[in-house]
């Protein structure tokens, strides 16, 4: 059985004023179904670029990327959007919830886009709010929630359409230490319940909690470690 994520010789360059920047230089690795992988490394090593490619919000200049049997690097914009909606869950460092919507509406947003019927959406929202421990916060707006609560809502939103892969970019970066630990526990529970996770992090505890760590530097993988 093939891996859920297959990354082969992935390269991505950016044009800067001083010349091209090689953000990724032929990166290759696999992520198995149900695995929790942490990508670590110093700032500017290409972690976020790799995450953007895995999430189909950016396209590689070379190499191939296959997720759940689909060649992501060959998708056009419309197909990539549908792919992100159905197969990818995104968690951002700064939560990026829609400030005008309630917690429930934020979680409902990707399901509405996927044209899931209202009754099913509402039931799923309640299920997810309960899962992330925010059952009583459905009608709160982001400004009425703490950072940890906002990140939980963001995770619930990422899980709304039952994605094949959950991508997280510094999910504890904006949280205090205690809340960060709670978030690590939540990721652990998610992974235990079958969610495949790729997380980019500077947080040593988050990285240590992952089953596998990929160390990057200057756009390339320099080491891998399995717990």
């Amino acid at each position: 059985m093939s891996a859920l994520v297959q990354v082969r010789d992935l390269a991505r360059d950016y044009s800067m004023g001083s010349g091209p920047v090689h953000a990724l230089r032929g990166v290759s690795f696999d992520v198995e179904q149900g695995e929790w992988v942490a990508i670590v490394g110093p700032s500017g090593c290409g972690k976020s670029t790799l995450l953007n490619l895995l999430g189909a919000v950016d396209s590689p200049d070379a190499g191939s990327l296959t997720i759940a049997g689909e060649r992501v690097d060959r998708l056009d914009d419309r197909a990539a959007t549908t792919f992100r909606l159905r197969r990818i869950g995104f968690v951002f460092q700064r939560f990026y919830l829609m400030p005008a919507l309630t917690a429930a509406e934020n979680i409902e947003l990707p399901m509405a886009e996927a044209r899931i019927v209202r009754t099913e959406r509402r039931a799923r929202v309640q299920e997810l709010l309960g899962y992330v421990g925010l059952a009583g916060r459905a009608d709160h707006r982001p400004s009425q929630l703490s950072g940890g609560e906002q990140q939980r809502v963001a995770i619930a939103r990422a899980l709304a359409n039952k994605p094949a892969l959950l991508l997280a970019d510094e999910p504890t970066g904006e949280l205090d230490a205690a809340t960060g630990l709670e978030m690590i526990d939540l990721f652990r529970r998610l992974n235990r319940d079958g969610t495949t996770i790729v997380v980019v992090t500077h947080d040593a505890q988050m990285a240590a909690a992952a089953a596998r760590r990929i160390q990057m530097r200057d756009g390339a993988i320099i080491a891998e470690a399995v717990t």
């Binding site: 999430g55 919000v57 959007t81 992100r84 909606l85 995104f90 951002f92 460092q93 990422a158 359409n161």
Partner: protein, 395 residues
Amino acid sequence: MPFRLALLALLRHKARTMLALLGIAVSAALLLDMVMLATGMRDNFQGFLLLRGYQLRVAPKGTLPFDSDATIDSAATLVAAIARVSGVVAVSPVLGAQSQTTAHDSTVTAFTLGIDPRVQGDYELLRGADLADSVSIVANERWLALTRHRLGDTVQLAVGYDPQLRTVVGQRAFIVRGVARFFYTGTTQPTIAMRLPVLQEMGGNARRDHVSLLMVKAGDDVDVEAVRARIQAAGARVSVISLEGATAQVEQRLAYFRQLALVLGSISLGVGILLVTTLITIGVNERAGEIAVMRAIGVAKRSIVTQVVTEGLLLSGVGAFSGLLIGLVTAQWLERILADFPGMPATFRFFVFQPHDAGLALGMLGSAGVLAGIYPAWRASSLPIAGTLRREAVA
């Protein structure tokens, strides 16, 4: 969801949205007024001429009714000839003149109509009696106010006054029998009416058997244009003007005015479009990060475009409805100002509200709303997701 997101995006900055709505409402009001003015004058003019059902006007050759002092001679023969034309059901002769009367050491000059009370189409009687005999006159309120006469008073009227020789052609005593509202003269214009033969007689040789105008009524199921052609063929020395012809001539004269209305309306529409475009573009720029996140979690470009265009539609729609009310109020206000212009007929309306006009103005603003949303929608939907998120993170 796009509708709700659009609504919430607008409500996020209430003061800004309210100010923009006010601006759009003013633009919409101006647009509606211009549309009402441009089309209303024409439509009202037709109704104005048709007040008593006379579809045709017969005036001296090459003139419009009361456009000059020219008159038609041998009027009785012409009236009889026109009355015999197939399809004609009534002919109303009208002679216009100036009359003077002295009241409390001042002279009041009045526009005086000589008419046939059986077929007249120039006034409606408000009080008193109509022109029962040759000593009767009916007058409007303005004339009564200036002369301080009342119903039943006897007055001396003179016609054909020569200011250099200080002579008059004719002078007679009349009794004020009725108070009337004259359709085609201004409310500030003192106006009276008497029987046609009396005014012709008072006007001397120059007015004997003369009329200024004939109003002709054709049967309901008759081709008016065919009747017009038959009358024109019967009377080579007159111009026979149908409603359409008169409207066309008035339209020709009002062309500059309508062009001005069109330009002002277009400018107000353009201002509305720019206002909505600016506001939504600012909103899109402020929400670039949110839009990039929505795209990242799988929201399609189509949904983003729908949301942004909906914002434009909401702004222009609510603004247009508010503008409709403002436009109606300002139209009434302007109508009152214009009605006070000297010589403006009391029955003439510049602004005529028609659902079609309101629909046209709303439709134009709705289209403007969509148009205004296109640029910011394109901008929002084409934001580079990764780059925008990176910039947001750095910011």
